[in-house]
């Protein structure tokens, strides 16, 4: 793990060319980790995955799957290390043993949010990079984040919005991507959820609909170039019952137990097994959401 910080100024070799699309490119970039990953970044070999900090199992699960598939196909996953979707996208990329870049709103030595310290270390340990236009030691301030978001939009040709509300930080990222002529993708969500406002509207306005990993890979690499690993392992009858219950709306272990008519301890074990197999994503409160992984056959 490289712990020494580095700095590249605009005009230097090692300054990402794609930042020149911006109205006011950062005068310098400060970084930790692999500086070649940033310096040699080609925007068509990267994907920015962003979304709400408030996302629950659905948004985080999808962000993780997309990060996993993108990194697994050799793409660099760019995001902002925020709670919710951003960190899930980084985690997915790391789980696929891929490389990922986190763009921070403060100095690269100021872990923000602090609860993501483990993730920050993992990103650096796996030859990734943490970058910022703010010097070491800078404490992130609210007005830094819109500026940070423009960098995320510039680093990848495609920006995917997983979840987000109107007038959110996520929307700033999409506006910037549009302005510099980069592509937008959005993950459709339930029309009754406020977090679907932004992605559903983007789709209506012509953004690429990203329903799963395959849609992402088709968009970045060309249709059918790489087939996403979309099928999970075979399911026993008990697992099938619990999965159907989640698919039809049961989110907690208790609700699944009632709907699938399983006893409490069987249900708890079954849900974790489904999570370990990749079919479900659990959140901090013990609520489960379906991932994009499909059953074989």
């Amino acid at each position: 793990m490289t712990t020494a910080g580095w700095r590249v100024d605009r005009g230097d070799q090692g300054y990402p060319a794609c930042l020149e699309y911006l109205d006011r490119p950062p005068a310098a970039l400060f970084g930790l980790g692999c500086c070649d990953l940033v310096g040699e970044l080609r925007e068509e070999r990267a994907v920015t995955i962003v979304g709400s900090r408030r996302s629950g199992g659905y948004g985080r699960g999808v962000a993780r799957d997309l990060g996993y598939a993108a990194a697994g196909a050799g793409l660099v996953v760019v995001s902002g290390m925020a709670l919710g979707c951003d960190s899930a996208a980084h985690e997915g990329a790391l789980d696929a043993r891929g490389r990922t870049i986190a763009v921070l709103g403060g100095g690269v030595d100021v872990v923000s949010p602090p609860s993501k310290t483990d993730l920050y270390r993992r990103i650096l340990a796996r030859d990734g990079a943490v970058i910022s236009e703010y010097p070491l030691g800078t404490v992130p301030e609210p007005h830094h984040f819109p500026a940070r978001n423009r960098i995320m939009a510039a680093l990848a040709k495609l920006t995917i919005v997983v979840e987000g509300r109107h007038r959110s930080g996520t929307q700033i990222t999409t506006k910037e991507a549009e302005r510099i002529g980069h592509d937008l993708g959005a993950v459709p969500g339930p029309v009754t959820s406020p977090l679907s406002e932004l992605p559903n509207e983007l789709i209506k306005a012509g953004a690429v609909m990203i329903r799963n990993s395959q849609d992402l890979l088709d968009e970045v690499l060309g249709v059918g170039v790489i087939a996403a690993d979309v099928f999970g392992p075979e399911l026993e009858p008990e697992l099938r019952l619990a999965l159907s219950a989640v698919e039809s709306g049961a989110a907690s272990a208790d609700a699944v137990a009632i709907q699938a008519d399983l006893d409490g301890s069987t249900t708890a074990v079954t849900l974790v097994r489904l999570e370990l197999m990749g079919y479900l994503a659990g959140d901090a409160l013990g609520r489960y959401a379906r991932t994009a992984l499909r059953e074989p056959g």
């Binding site: 999570e275 370990l276 901090a284």
Partner: protein
């Protein structure tokens, strides 16, 4: 019931290192009215008999309780099936299990196997132990 934000704030007051040492946490929801009137569950005496039997299994096998096993000893006594090993690896990648958490999950899984009177740890025992650890990652 407390709002998710309140629950998260309370959780955040417990440091990661401390939370890592809590082996069992459960989400308890308000029971539905009709579930209260249905037939009674297992008797405490039956549960006690199962616990006594499990403790005896552990004592006979290794001379102490599972909780008292050293990291090296629990790995030796785990006797995991291939599926259990894969599930434990998935626990690290998919559920953010820490290094410290690894051995603690093994101890709880060993106990679950003992409660079922089984010689080796299977996938369902690992999943059970992980289910008890499910708590605020964020």
């Amino acid at each position: 019931m407390c709002s998710p934000a309140l629950v998260r704030r309370y959780r955040n007051r417990i440091s990661g290192a401390l939370a890592d040492r809590i082996d069992i946490s459960l989400l308890v929801e308000q029971p539905a009215a009709d579930s209260l009137s249905s037939e009674a569950g297992e008797s405490s005496a039956a549960v006690r008999a199962r616990v006594v039997a499990a403790r005896k299994l552990a004592l006979v096998r290794q001379g102490c309780m599972n909780a008292e096993l050293s990291p090296a000893a629990i790995r030796r006594q785990a006797r995991m099936t291939t599926a259990a090993k894969a599930a434990l690896v998935a626990g690290h990648t998919r559920m953010g299990l820490s290094g410290r958490g690894h051995d603690r999950v093994l101890r709880v899984a060993r106990t679950l196997a003992d409660l079922h009177g089984e010689p080796g740890i299977d996938e369902s025992h690992i999943a059970g132990a992980l289910a008890y650890r499910r708590r605020g990652g964020e």
